[in-house]
């Protein structure tokens, strides 16, 4: 876009805001990726690093909050500018939550490291995590490139994540039902899987906000969902 504001400092402010959001998004993507790697390797040191880096994610959110508040007051934005600024605020709060989930995963990784685990189970979570990472990457691309179509495509992907979560939930329940030795492990894994699934939900929120930012309206229609884990019961003996 060659268009610019008559007051050029306004463009710099907007550019700075978008840079902050993009950097925060990149950091959150890296955090989730590192949290998943640490989980698969059961590496407590790598997990501890994720936990300590969460402070930086939080700092980004504070920075964006401050910057948007100042812009609202000093620039009195209108139309698309207003939407860009409001959406930056929303994106920052969604990204901060996504960062928290990466941290939560790493906290459980620290707890699980040194205990016997089931490699296939963490690998399954990793697969779902990779799907969510793909959503994050695409949603950040949609933000940077101002691409409504890409944002809308991300919204559709959340259904796959939901389905994967439902399967994982059943898998972990069966694991615990089969062998009571696995109850501690399985409980932690269920929470971890839920955390990953929630990151996907937030990535979907981000995609919706980007749609609003670009088009001035929320995407039409229901968000596709297919998380049926709340309806699953596994009776003793069923998983054997």
């Amino acid at each position: 876009m060659n268009e610019r504001h008559i007051v050029s400092a306004y463009d710099k402010d907007l550019q700075q805001l978008e840079t902050l959001v993009s950097e925060m998004g990149g950091l959150v993507e890296a955090q989730l990726s590192a949290a998943l790697d640490a989980l698969v390797k059961l590496d407590p040191d790598a997990a501890a690093e994720v936990i300590s880096r969460d402070k930086i994610v939080d700092d980004y959110e504070s920075q964006i909050d401050l910057h948007t508040t100042e812009m609202l007051v000093l620039r009195q934005p209108m139309a698309q500018d207003l939407r860009v600024i409001l959406v930056a605020l929303k994106l920052a709060s969604n990204l901060e939550r996504m960062g928290d989930y990466a941290k939560n995963i790493s906290k459980r990784t620290v707890t699980l490291s040194g205990t016997p685990t089931v490699t296939s189970a963490t690998q399954s979570i990793k697969r779902m995590g990779d799907k969510v990472l793909e959503m994050i990457k695409e949603v950040l691309d949609a933000y940077a490139r101002r691409d409504t179509e890409l944002a809308s495509a991300v919204i559709l992907k959340d259904e796959d994540v939901d389905r994967m979560h439902t399967n994982l939930f059943r898998e972990f329940l069966e694991m615990m039902t089969t062998d009571s030795q696995h109850i501690s492990l399985g409980t932690h894994l269920i929470f971890i899987a839920k955390d990953v699934e929630r990151v996907g939900d937030h990535a979907t929120n981000v995609a919706e906000k980007i749609h609003y930012m670009l088009e001035g309206s929320m995407p039409v229609g229901e968000r596709p969902k297919d998380d049926r884990s709340s309806g699953i019961l596994v009776e003793p003996g069923e998983g054997e």
Binding site: N2, E3, R4, L82
Partner: protein, 277 residues
């Protein structure tokens, strides 16, 4: 037990404008059709079609020279006074042609009052400024009635408490903001249907501006108001409908909240965001 009030869907937040929504889409108070204006052959307004809703504030915005003031001045035929000004097309007030052959311009301007950029009180007393209109239009038979009109108009204009003890003092001794409210009192004293305002706050400080904006919001329950303003923030604050003019054309007219959050025309968007290129 869950408190019943907690399980209601959220009340749809209505901004103050929605109080007019029941009347806003009825027959327009003013309808402009294919209006063209030229000054000595130079076209200032091109084919403007605009419906102005009753009992609402319509703001006309746009860069200098876009024709917004010219259009405003067509509504009560102020342009008749300008030599070389030619107006074609049609403007109706309550379905009656404003430019009809049998229209008495004095009566028209009683029905469509005007407030200008610079407060322009007569060099007379505060009382006389307000009483003048109703007296020449024969709207008050006795002195008591006139007193009543003056008091009522000053109350409506939010000035009564500040001037009630010095009604005989010269109006020119009032502050700029007070003078502007006096001009509004003067305009409403003759019971108009429509009030046109041409940048009524541009000579006022922010406090006096806020008082006028509060007054405009109060007056719109009774009058149809059309305001020209250079301040987009003011247009956003006071108007329910906003019309954007550019190079003599009416580019876009819509609810103010739509114009300022999601305008449909690129030119409107560039103007409200302060962009070029």
């Amino acid at each position: 037990m869950i408190d019943k009030t907690l399980v209601q869907p959220p009340t749809v937040l209505s901004s103050s404008e929605d109080s007019t929504s029941d009347v806003i889409d009825l027959v327009p108070k003013i309808r402009a059709s294919d209006v063209n204006v030229s000054y000595s052959g130079n076209q200032a307004i091109k084919n403007v079609n605009l419906d102005i809703k009753s009992k609402a504030v319509t703001a006309l915005i746009g860069p200098s020279g876009c024709g917004k003031t010219t259009f405003l001045r067509c509504i009560n035929r102020m342009n008749d006074l300008i030599e070389g000004c030619e107006v074609t097309g049609n403007i109706t007030l309550d379905n009656e042609d404003v430019y009809g052959a049998d229209v008495d311009v004095v009566v028209l301007r009683r029905r469509i009052g005007m407030v200008f950029q610079k407060p322009n009180p007569f060099p007379k007393s505060i009382y006389e400024n307000v009483a003048y209109g109703p007296r020449i239009h024969g709207q008050a038979a006795k002195g008591d009635e006139l007193d009543e009109i003056v008091e009522r108009s000053l109350i409506r204009a939010g000035l009564w408490d500040e001037v009630k003890n010095r009604l005989e003092a010269p109006a020119t001794g009032l502050s700029g903001g007070q003078q502007q409210r006096l001009c509004i009192a003067r305009a409403i004293a003759v019971e108009p249907d429509v009030i046109l305002m041409d940048e009524p706050c541009s000579a006022l400080d922010p406090i006096a501006t806020a008082r006028i904006e509060e007054l405009i919001d109060d007056l719109r329950t009774k009058y149809t108001i059309v305001i020209v303003t250079h301040s987009m923030q003011q247009a956003a604050r006071v108007s329910q409908r906003t019309a954007f003019f550019h190079l003599g054309e009416l580019v876009e007219e819509n609810e103010a909240k739509v114009i300022f959050t999601n305008p449909s025309d690129e030119r409107t968007r560039a103007y409200v965001t302060g962009s070029i290129g």
